[in-house]
């Protein structure tokens, strides 16, 4: 194999919320060449950066994945692509399982057949832990897994599939279980951008001053997506193959509290209405994680205060709404 001037990384799901932030991070902090997969939307005609090449690939198709790996020849893979919206997974569980398990299986099989040493980051989720029982907080990597939605089941399967390929083939696979993360660019079906986008619309006079909310009593462990992608980079470069790491802030934030913070950033008067349709069948009241294992390895901890994250998300939506609400990336809302 020829020595390369630059390392090559493959990012699946590169145009997703986290994928875009990860690409931006890698472009800013490494000299790596990047290849990203995009699906189901087409690749944008104009690349954002010459070091980032996007390809339209359905990871469920083994031959496409094989071709992709052969052409990109990555040293590192960040496997981000997934159906990650919990309500969608309830509506069609098999679709989510197939997407998330099959895509990863095709990737790992293609890497295995290539016989190249490729470091692979497998992205799980705090959803794997599900509802904690008394005395189980914060959730550590050793906490019991009790997935309470099909998305979470698919992440458990991805997690163990990554582990199994490490155990059976010695492939350098590192697994992470990020807790909730948010930031600019997250589609508004998730809680923080849902609130922020509605506030921005109300400010712009595009929505009556009424904000529909789900369960405000839930508390979750939120980290800024920009801290999360930095952790992904550290995990794939420094993580111990076969190991799994929580990525978390270690503190619960109540949904009510983050709503109040967002409202405090706005001058308009907004009425709050609870909408039972926004509740999940099973919702853990409080969940937060412990990321000490990853901190000990890499010294990583979240650096962006949550208040700044909330402000940035609101500003992002003000910009979106101010520019033209019609140009929103509708595809991501589907």
């Amino acid at each position: 194999m020829q020595a390369r001037a630059h390392k090559r990384a493959l990012i699946t799901g590169a145009s997703g919320f986290v994928g875009e932030h990860l690409c931006a991070y890698l472009l800013a902090h490494t000299d790596w060449e990047l290849a990203g997969t995009v699906y189901p939307q087409p690749v944008e005609a104009r690349p954002r950066d010459p070091r980032l090449v996007l390809r339209h690939v359905d990871l469920r198709d083994p031959e496409s994945v094989q071709t992709l790996l052969g052409e990109v020849q990555p040293d590192t893979i960040f496997h981000l692509a997934a159906q990650s919206f919990v309500p969608t997974s309830f509506a069609d569980p098999w679709d989510t399982l197939e997407n998330n398990i099959r895509g990863q299986l095709n990737l790992l099989e293609a890497v295995r057949r290539s016989e190249r040493q490729v470091r692979v980051l497998v992205v799980g989720s705090n959803e794997e832990y599900g509802t904690p029982q008394p005395g189980e907080l914060p959730q550590t990597e050793g906490s019991p897994l009790r997935p309470s939605n099909p998305y979470a089941v698919s992440k458990v399967a991805q997690d163990f599939l990554g582990f199994q390929y490490f155990l059976a083939y010695g492939m350098p696979i590192v697994r992470v279980r990020p807790f909730n993360h948010t930031g600019p660019g997250q589609p508004p079906r998730f809680v923080v951008p849902s609130f922020a986008s509605q506030i921005a619309r109300i400010e712009a006079g595009l929505q009556e001053p009424l904000l529909k909310v789900g369960n405000l009593d839930a508390a979750r462990d939120f980290t800024d997506v920009r801290d999360i992608v930095r952790a992904y980079y550290l995990a794939v470069t420094q993580g111990e193959p076969g190991e799994v790491y929580n990525l978390a802030s270690g503190r619960p934030q109540s949904v009510r509290g983050l709503l109040e913070t967002l409202l405090s950033y706005s001058k308009v008067e907004i009425r709050i209405e609870q909408d039972p349709a926004l509740y999940r069948p099973v919702d853990a009241p409080v969940a937060y994680g412990n990321a000490d294992k990853f901190h000990r390895l890499t010294a990583w901890k979240p650096e962006i205060p949550f208040e700044k994250t909330l402000w940035d998300v609101l500003e992002y939506w003000r910009e979106q709404v101010g520019g033209s609400f019609q140009t929103l990336k509708v595809s991501e809302n589907l």
Binding site: W94, T131, P150, A152, A157, F163, P281
Partner: protein, 296 residues
């Protein structure tokens, strides 16, 4: 009488469970099988006239139709492909089972190495179709999901005997697919209150076990030598491997007990609690034959 539905009834464990339930005599037994499934494992029942095949050639579409053909003291096979959500729905609506034993799976580990995606699809989608069929009905059956000791995979010496809380270190795609099945069962219990009970069976063996598996393979070779079909040489693999073997007939009884006594949402190991080496199992088999056999 209780109505029991067994998926994977034409398989090794499924056929023994069917025989066990018939022998108990306190349940109507229905089994789902694909059109033109091999029925080798049910041939004893067939010979005894206790296998009802009238529901196999066409999908039985209504309860009345089923009543017309069902036999209370036989195993009633019904056409039902786990891969087809509509067939699963019809099956559940027609049988109205009080108990479901979900044994259908691609369960051969080596196949999962060569065809991991298929193993995943078969093992997870069939279960989703079954669960969704139960959800769509007004029934509240007890449902057993057959997990496997393979889920534990790599086990450290200080972890034996393996408890249900032992970490999973799966070594094959089959094992990962069983983990997915198990957590899917837990999730449907949590989300919808489906009364799912998971069993993790350790190695089970017994009559009719596929000859590719060590115990059956040795027994078959010995039988062939005794019958002078083969020269007196027995071929073996790694004899130092340790396993927890349970007779499949004890496993069938344990499956029944799991639904009789088990708590929904829980997981139960089904093992003998003792491990033997393949060597000691081979020695026991050899002690049962008068023929002198060379082991290679």
């Amino acid at each position: 009488m209780l109505k029991v539905l067994i998926t994977g009834i034409t398989g090794f464990a499924g056929s023994h469970l069917a025989e066990y339930l018939l022998a108990r005599g306190d349940a109507e037994v229905y089994g789902a099988c694909r059109w033109r499934s091999r029925l080798d494992n049910l041939s004893d029942l067939r010979r005894q006239g206790r296998l009802n095949l009238r529901g196999v050639d066409a999908v039985v579409g209504s309860e009345a139709e089923l009543r017309a053909i069902a036999e209370p003291h036989a195993v009633n096979l019904l056409q039902g492909d786990m891969a087809d959500p509509y067939q699963m729905k019809t099956l559940v609506e027609v049988v109205k089972p009080d108990r479901i034993f979900h044994l259908a799976a691609q369960s051969f580990v080596p196949t999962s190495w060569s065809a991991p995606a298929e193993t995943f699809s078969i093992n997870t989608i069939g279960q989703i179709h079954l669960f969704e069929a139960v959800r769509a009905s007004s029934l509240d059956p007890l449902i057993q999901i057959a997990g496997s000791s393979e889920e534990y995979g790599l086990v450290h010496p200080d972890e034996v005997p393996i408890k249900e809380s032992n970490p999973f270190r799966p070594l094959s795609p089959y094992a990962v697919s069983k983990i997915a099945q198990e957590f899917l069962g837990y999730q449907y219990y949590r989300s919808y209150g489906l009364r799912v009970i998971v069993t993790r069976g350790f190695n089970h063996t017994g009559p009719r076990h596929g000859p590719v598996l060590s115990c059956s393979s040795f027994a078959r070779q010995i039988a062939e030598i005794e019958a002078e079909f083969s020269p007196p040489v027995l071929y073996v693999g790694d004899l130092m491997t340790k396993r927890d073997w349970v007779d499949v007939r004890d496993v069938a009884r344990a499956y029944w007990l799991a639904l009789e006594k088990g708590v929904a949402g829980e997981v139960y190991n089904i093992g003998s609690g003792t491990t033997r080496t393949v060597q000691s199992m081979l020695d026991m088999l050899l002690s049962l034959t008068p023929v002198a056999i060379e082991v290679r």
